[in-house]
């Protein structure tokens, strides 16, 4: 069964609600799904679509390929059993198929672009130039897929539910237990595939890099869990520096280290590897801050739209105000124990949190561009620059 046929069936499997999508008969229609994303659609889509042409194929569904292969078609069937329950795995699965803002499979694309931008190593010109397609080595393509596998695995593992925190509104315990089971196994399966892929690269330095990226990512996810909505919505007192460290772990490390690993595969020297690392790190940071800012800068927002109290603008806002004043503001925005997000948003918009978050986003964007300067000018480099521009654009 081809990937395309499987993808045609998936939405039905997952009990997709919302507008019916037309059949996937051209690659461009895959890209047009991005139009559903809430970022300034036309521009972002253009950037990504151009980028995909440069690397030769759409990169969205890399990590799904192994999940959907016939051998383990169990997984798709098992996830299907969750339709009708409230287990988060279902949401994750839907998100992977219907590209949404948070699940934009950007990492693989960036790894491919930076591989192409760096080109073959000038020092080790002998290594496998026959192996290059569209200017990218097959091992680098493999690496891009591995990166996506690791990311998706943790995305799936994030959706595990604590059984003793369940309420009757969450539905039967049995469903949640089953959902947890499938989530763990699917995540583990993705990780196992990633490990196998890494072993095939026959390069232990790359294995070490990606394994340490995984370690960072897991710790980042752990922090996310710990600081998510608590009693009375009072989150931990973290300053922007701690936020940056934690965000690097949960968002930056994987992309940064993959970019570096891509350079290592082509036998580039330490300087080039470092520049790739810097690009990956700063680009990922600005991407995350951009994502955090969306609830605050969109013109048409519904009143019920919530936002993460540990996002960049909120953390910055708290840092300017001081802890006590911030807690007071949260209390004022609470009505009968529930947080009035619209009111809190107004309060935050009135402060300096949003503007300084925008500045921070642009700061990281600039650092990413700086890192790119050491790469020779090329289509791929331009595409990477365009991605930064798209992510730091707020007008």
């Amino acid at each position: 069964m081809s990937l395309r046929q499987l993808l045609l069936r998936l939405p039905c499997y997952l009990g997709a609600s919302g507008p019916r999508r037309g059949p996937l008969d051209t690659i461009s229609s895959v890209v047009s799904w991005r139009a559903q994303s809430s970022r300034s659609p036309a521009h972002w889509n253009q950037v990504v679509s151009d980028a995909e042409k440069i690397v030769g194929y759409p990169t969205s569904f890399m990590s799904l390929r192994c999940l959907l292969s016939d051998e383990l078609s169990n997984i798709a069937m098992q996830v299907r059993k969750l339709v009708g329950t409230q287990h988060p795995l279902l949401t994750t699965a839907r998100g992977l198929v219907h590209d949404s803002q948070n699940n934009l499979q950007l990492r693989g694309l960036v790894v491919l672009l930076i591989s192409k931008a760096a080109g073959p190593s000038s020092v080790n010109a002998s290594c496998q130039s026959y192996d290059m397609v569209s200017g990218i080595y097959s091992c680098q393509r493999s690496l891009a897929e591995i990166t996506e596998l690791i990311h998706t695995a943790l995305l799936v593992h994030r959706g595990i539910v604590n059984l003793d925190e369940l309420q009757s509104s969450d539905g039967p315990l049995k469903d949640m237990q089953f959902g947890n089971k499938i989530a763990i196994l699917s995540g583990d399966f993705l990780l196992a595939n990633a490990c196998n892929g890494l072993a095939l690269l026959q390069n232990t330095k790359v294995v070490e890099l990606l394994a340490s990226a995984l370690m960072d990512l897991v710790q980042g996810v752990y922090h996310e869990n710990s600081t998510s909505a608590k009693e009375n919505h009072i989150t931990d007192d973290i300053g922007i520096l701690t936020w940056k460290k934690q965000t690097f772990l949960s968002h930056g490390a994987l992309l940064a280290k993959s970019c570096q690993a891509a350079m290592e595969l082509a036998k580039h020297d330490a300087e080039v590897q470092d520049m790739a690392f810097q690009y990956g790190k700063h680009m990922a940071m600005s991407h995350k801050i951009n994502s955090d800012l969306q609830p605050f800068i969109k013109e048409k927002t519904s009143d019920s739209l919530t936002f993460n109290l540990n996002s960049a603008p909120v953390v910055l806002h708290q840092e300017f105000l001081g802890r006590d004043l911030w807690i007071k503001q949260i209390r004022e925005a609470q009505r009968k124990g529930r947080l009035d997000y619209a009111k809190l948003r107004e309060t935050i918009n009135a402060g300096k949190g949003v503007t300084s978050a925008i500045d921070l986003c642009r700061y990281h964007g600039n650092k990413a561009l700086e890192a790119l300067e050491s790469f020779p000018p090329s289509e791929a480099r331009t595409a990477l620059e365009n991605i930064v521009f798209a992510v730091t654009r707020f007008s």
Binding site: L72, N74, Q78, L154, H157, I160, V161, N162, L163, D164, E165, Q177, N180, K181, I184, L185, G187, D188, F189, L191, A192, N193, C195, N196, L198, A199, L200, Q202, N203, T204, K205, V207, E208, A211, S212, L214, M215, V218, Q219, V221, Y222, H223, N225
Partner: protein, 420 residues
Amino acid sequence: MASCWWRWRRGCSWRPAARSPGPGSLGRAGLSGLRAAAAAAARAQVRRRGLRMSQVSYFNLVKSLTSAFPNMYSISRFHHMTPAVCCCSKTRSGEKYTDPFNLGWRDLKGLYEDIRKELFISTTELKEMCEYYFDGKGKAFRPIIVVLMARACNIHHNNSRNVQASQRAIALIAEMIHTASLVHDDVIDDASSRRGKHTVNKIWGEKKAVLAGDLILSAASIALARIGNTTVVSILTQVIEDLVRGEFLQLGSKENENERFAHYLEKTFKKTASLIANSCKAVSVLGCPDPVVHEIAYQYGKNVGLAFQLIDDVLDFTSCSDRMGKPTSADLKLGLATGPVLFACQQFPEMNAMIMRRFSSPGDVDRARQYVLQSDGVQQTTYLAQRYCREAVREISKLRPSPERDALIQLSEIVLTRDK
């Protein structure tokens, strides 16, 4: 191998009047007449070719073994295996016959401290979760096998009595991979206790437990990469895949009786034996360039691993919960039909329905347990484990004699006679 063995089993029975042979298994000849003829042929075969299980049919094998070793006819868990099971040369060093665990631990001092060093995590709670099982209370069975195998291979290759740092690292990595899979398995099975204490998921919740498992795995991968040997990396990443596939095999089930046993053995290999087999292979690769040795190490590990799990499955029926550190009839409660159950089903076909519905109806677990204890399921499984052990011993005996090689032989026997 397993499937043809299984077909023979269906045709025969321990109890003479139980059932008639199935078609194609024993042919038309009478049972007793065939037994005599087969026994004679088998004895000759065994003498000529050694105990090659794929070639000698199960039935003949039973007969030949029971005639060669009369004590073994009534198989029970408590039957002690003498070291003279295989007719190979003993150690010529004349060293005192030490306990394999003591021998192995000489190289494993500081094992758990070193594992904890690999878990360089800044957050206290996360670190605590990851270190939870590395408290020195586990059996450390896998690291022991690994270091003993390392020495045995080194000695075989060039009489070197040292264990390389990289080989010792494999011991750590094997234990870490094993623990990571345990943590995830406990969440999947919603287990509440292991090794005599609460599981990670019960104390810290499922979300964090899954992350802890991922962390331990990533730390193991980093350590693996640092050894710097791509072959070894390939060997051990295969284990990670096998562990996951084993879990998936456990999720699914086979309708057909014949397939069930093969499915059970495959799952047992992937979940338990693969780690031991491949760790043994990895240390042999690091210690010795000869691929014959690598294969010996792998086969030893695989057979011991299979035996280990089979006995584990037996103990789930015969032991009581204090000794094991985890509750018993655990497999039945999870809906799993292990060796004893599958054998018992031969004598009590009523069990089929229970197996198919994975013991989900009330009273199933207890009834199944009763059936198993009444049948010879436990004995059969133990006997199968003994066969695997014998194969392991046969393989490892091909290495140059050394205290470590003999310790490995002794270890395979300990696998059979342990009670926790």
